[in-house]
Symmetry: C2
């Protein structure tokens, strides 16, 4: 579908109303574009002279692909990766001149859309390579492509033996401008994993077989690892958004989000009892509770129940009380002096004064990536420069 | 903000493009409106003569509030509950003449929006009651309201002692047309919980104190419980969407969603190794894997990794192999005869031929509500009549 008809069909409206339809929300998600920019610069400096691309799939890990990508362009980023064709078309409307590559490759029937929007498919199979090569016949110039080779993750990409066979039949790549050969690390979250070394070894072997192109292996974990992982181009994702790719230890990255909510209701417990579904949290008479309008439908995961999750209210660290509901979470604010709370009081749920995204993830039994990508659509979203 | 300026600002565009921006998605979420209708009829019949309202908060538990509510109107539903004012305004644009009540109540400064859109606040605090009563001064008729009284959940609502005090000062309710007094069950997922009986007892006491209105206690669990929980009006949510409110045991409800995805890539493993992040799943040489374009960013929860989650491919039940990634999940299809797969083959991830939402929830360590509300925005959405 050409750009113009997408605009006419309201497709661009769908993009730009994102985060703007919440006129009355009592919870605000602030996305710190300056932090994302700082994280990008940190990585770009670290990996230079390798090029730092940016992975902005899944709506820039839930933070809003257009504002994030626009800011990264200002920081000098020229190459963006998304997962799907829909994401690529959305990004193309926002960034008419960026280079955009699509991890999931080009499916049968989608070739023309890639051409119209100047999108680069990451070719994962011999079949995709063959089809994209056919598209090059009669094209005024070679068609850009990247090639993904699996070095041990067993997810997307050619097998090493397929890559070797391909090199022996170079006519299969006719008409293609292979701008990069890439692979993906399975265990980069663990610096000590032997898998990293093994994938690195395979990748270096590949470079002796497939020559005359650029090479890319590193995700965020690889960016922060030794220079031998950087090659010509790196593909950071989570690190841009302040997630520690190593899951634990001190993070050099700036946190990219703050989640705050106004208090819906404060209650003083008038008889000893319990809080929330399943009556899992005990409260004494006289205890005080604050109900917040944020729940698991907003991405404040239900698995944050009963795992020491906390927030900050009027400067005081307070625990989550009982189970997270769909649209609400209750805090035990018994330790907050009564005079300190006003009708305008807010709680900070995620941010530098409360749980980091990484801490929330650990408490919820997952990784920061999942916290970010599931942050809900009912918040007011604010993009801080 | 009046309806007209919302339309002009593109607010309604934001609603109606929901689920329509995915032109090229390889995964399809089918919402079975007929199943939702059947579940509504089952409950309405069961609770009659009590009125069956419908809880459509959180975008109808993630399934799309406008198509769901429009269908429920056809089934005779007249009263809808949402959580937030934004949700109410969105629903009002879709359903100009339905009765819409807002669980989170009316916050200071939002009163005029409630009036303009004919929304009914569920009043949870004395302060809200007082403010809404002031709005009634000079109004041509009494202002509709509902009143929420907490009977042991310690979440939203007046305490019982506040309710008793309120009854002793009826002038505080001046100008209000209290259409219902409600409370909420904390433990209705467990039929045997003593908490249900205790909340029922409190609620019946309240009925002797606050008279001359209608009463509502039952969520989905209460709807399927004894008639003594039904009173004048019930508020089913999860049951409408095919979720078993009892978490376990056979469900009388029709499943409301099917999630299918085209296979991105099939790979035959060329040497023994592992699959995915963390290398947690072992594969032998010759094993076959299918990569699907659905991951935890789409609500296929990361906690479905390693817990026996499965899908159906070409009629065969196949396990998830390794960790769920952000945009992908891998299936071990070694047991699927090779000839059975074509380029058009799809996997069913959720539905009657694969995991039910309830089973997926159990495997992921959560409840079906969270699975539904987190189903992603990258799917093609199809509403089946």
């Amino acid at each position: 579908m050409p750009l113009e008809s997408l605009r006419d069909s309201g497709h661009d409206a769908a993009i730009y109303v994102k985060g703007k339809t919440m006129h009355y929300a009592d919870a605000t998600l602030t996305v710190h574009l300056d932090a994302i920019a700082a994280n990008y610069r940190l990585i770009a400096t670290r990996v230079a002279p390798a090029e730092a691309a940016a992975v902005v799939k899944a709506d820039a890990y839930g933070l809003g692909v257009i504002p994030v990508a626009e800011r990264l362009v200002k920081e000098g980023c020229r190459l963006f990766f998304v997962a799907t064709l829909d994401e690529a078309v959305e990004l193309r409307i926002g960034l008419p001149s960026a280079t955009i590559a699509v991890f999931h490759g080009v499916r049968f029937g989608q070739e023309q859309v890639f051409l119209e929007h100047h999108l680069i498919p990451v070719l994962n199979t011999l079949e995709q390579i063959s089809r994209w090569s056919v598209m090059a016949v009669g094209a005024p110039s070679a068609l850009p492509a990247m090639m993904h080779i699996d070095t041990g993750m067993n997810r997307l990409g050619l097998s090493i033996s397929e890559a070797e066979a391909l090199v022996r039949t170079p006519e299969k790549l006719r008409g293609l401008d292979v701008q990069a050969v890439m692979s993906h690390l399975a265990c980069s979250s663990d610096r000590e994993s032997l898998m990293n070394h093994e994938q690195l070894k395979f990748f270096n072997q590949l470079r002796t077989i497939i020559t005359g192109t650029k090479y890319s292996l590193a995700n965020s974990g690889g960016c922060l690892a030794d220079a031998c992982y950087h090659f010509d181009m790196v593909r950071p994702g989570c690190a841009l958004y302040g997630i520690n790719p190593y899951y634990s230890g001190e993070s050099p990255l700036a946190p990219a989000v703050t989640l705050r909510a106004k208090i819906l209701q404060i209650r003083t417990v008038d008889r000893a009892g319990s809080v929330g579904y399943g009556a899992s949290y005990a409260v004494q008479k006289g205890g005080r509770l604050a109900v917040l309008p944020v729940g698991y439908a907003d991405g404040y995961l239900r698995s944050l129940s009963g795992n020491g999750a906390w927030a900050r209210v009027a400067g005081v660290k307070v625990p989550v009380a009982g189970r997270v509901s769909m649209d609400m979470v209750v805090l035990d604010i018994s330790d907050v002096p009564e005079g300190k709370l006003t009708a305008a009081s807010e709680a900070e749920l995620l941010g530098v004064n409360s749980m980091s995204v990484d801490e929330a993830a650990t408490r919820a039994g997952t990784i920061g990536y999942e916290i970010l990508t599931r942050l809900g659509k009912r918040f007011k979203r604010v993009y801080a420069a």
